[in-house]
């Protein structure tokens, strides 16, 4: 009779893998985005199951509450919603899927055959220890990551800004402008 922990683990694992399979094989990109939500929530559940409480909550806040919302916004801004039924086509499956399956088989074999040491884990709250680690051994990466976040913010604003044609001077300038149906000539890439 498997214990409660085993059942919970397999339920969370099934959730994670079902969501990921949906992302990989769904033909509608909106479905794929919502199934990614299921995967991320399942992963957060796995973190909480294993006792990593801070990482689990951080995953929920940052991944689900930040990254996934950003993904959904970009899906809604870049797809014609009326035609969203088949928006996620796939190409090159004949070559990519066997290669990926070989990689997966290798990883699963290594993970399953290696005699991992059987240590009995101890559940304890981790937030205080993580705070200690961030401010002692991992202080430099911590500060660098804050720099990386600043660069990401500035860079994203610099990349995504829109050039506006100033009619008084006839020049192009940056800044928010009225929404236009066609990109300005400088920004249109001819293909």
């Amino acid at each position: 009779m498997p214990g409660v922990g085993t059942i919970v683990f397999y339920a969370l694992a099934a959730l994670v893998l079902a969501g990921a399979a949906g992302v990989a094989f769904s033909r509608n990109i909106l479905h794929a985005a919502f199934l990614l939500l299921v995967t991320l929530v399942g992963t957060a559940g796995l973190y909480l199951f294993i006792g990593a409480d801070f990482v689990g909550v951080a995953q929920l806040l940052i991944y689900v509450g930040g990254i996934l919302v950003l993904l959904l916004f970009s899906v809604l801004l870049t797809q014609r919603i009326g035609d969203v039924r088949v928006t996620n086509l796939a190409m090159g499956r004949g070559i990519a899927v066997p290669v990926a399956l070989v990689v997966g088989l290798l990883l699963v074999t290594v993970a399953g055959l290696t005699p991992w040491p059987r240590t009995e884990p101890v559940a304890a709250p981790t937030t205080a220890r993580l705070g200690d680690a961030f401010l002692r051994e991992y202080l430099l990466p911590f500060e660098l990551v804050s720099l990386v976040l600043l660069m990401a913010l500035v860079g994203a604003m610099a990349i995504a800004r829109r050039a506006v044609h100033d009619t008084t001077t006839g020049k192009w300038r940056d800044g928010p402008g009225p929404s236009r149906t066609e990109a300005p000539a400088e920004e249109r890439f001819t293909s």
């Binding site: 214990g3 922990g5 085993t6 683990f9 694992a13 994670v16 893998l17 990921a20 992302v23 990109i29 990614l36 991320l40 992963t43 199951f49 294993i50 990593a52 801070f54 990482v55 940052i62 991944y63 950003l70 993904l71 970009s74 801004l77 870049t78 797809q79 996620n88 086509l89 796939a90 190409m91 090159g92 899927v97 990926a100 399956l101 990689v103 997966g104 990883l107 993970a111 059987r118 240590t119 884990p121 101890v122 981790t126 993580l130 961030f134 991992y138 990466p141 990551v145 990386v148 976040l149 660069m151 913010l153 994203a156 990349i159 995504a160 990109a183 920004e187 249109r188 890439f189 293909s191």
Partner: protein
Amino acid sequence: MTSSTATQIGLGHFLVLSALLFTLGLITASTRRSAIAILMGIELMLNAGAINFVAFSHFSRGSIDGQVFAVFVVVLAAAEAVVALAIVLAVFRGFGSVDSDAMTTLKE
């Protein structure tokens, strides 16, 4: 996971799970045409790596380094998603679509 429930879930179970998740992310990233779907595949692969980190941290006594790395993975994935989606938006404004097959202007 307390020792009172005597679970049989070991380190290998978590690694197999993350290997399968990585494989599905790899399939997503290499077979999709939409740039946003490729980004979703990359996020799946990053999650698989983070699960590995946390699992190793849990099963090695007294070490919390894996969870530190998992937090870094989450934060860097956020920064990468922001920049990648800004690029996708800018490209959408120039090409009118996010289909990676349509972006062929670097070819001769």
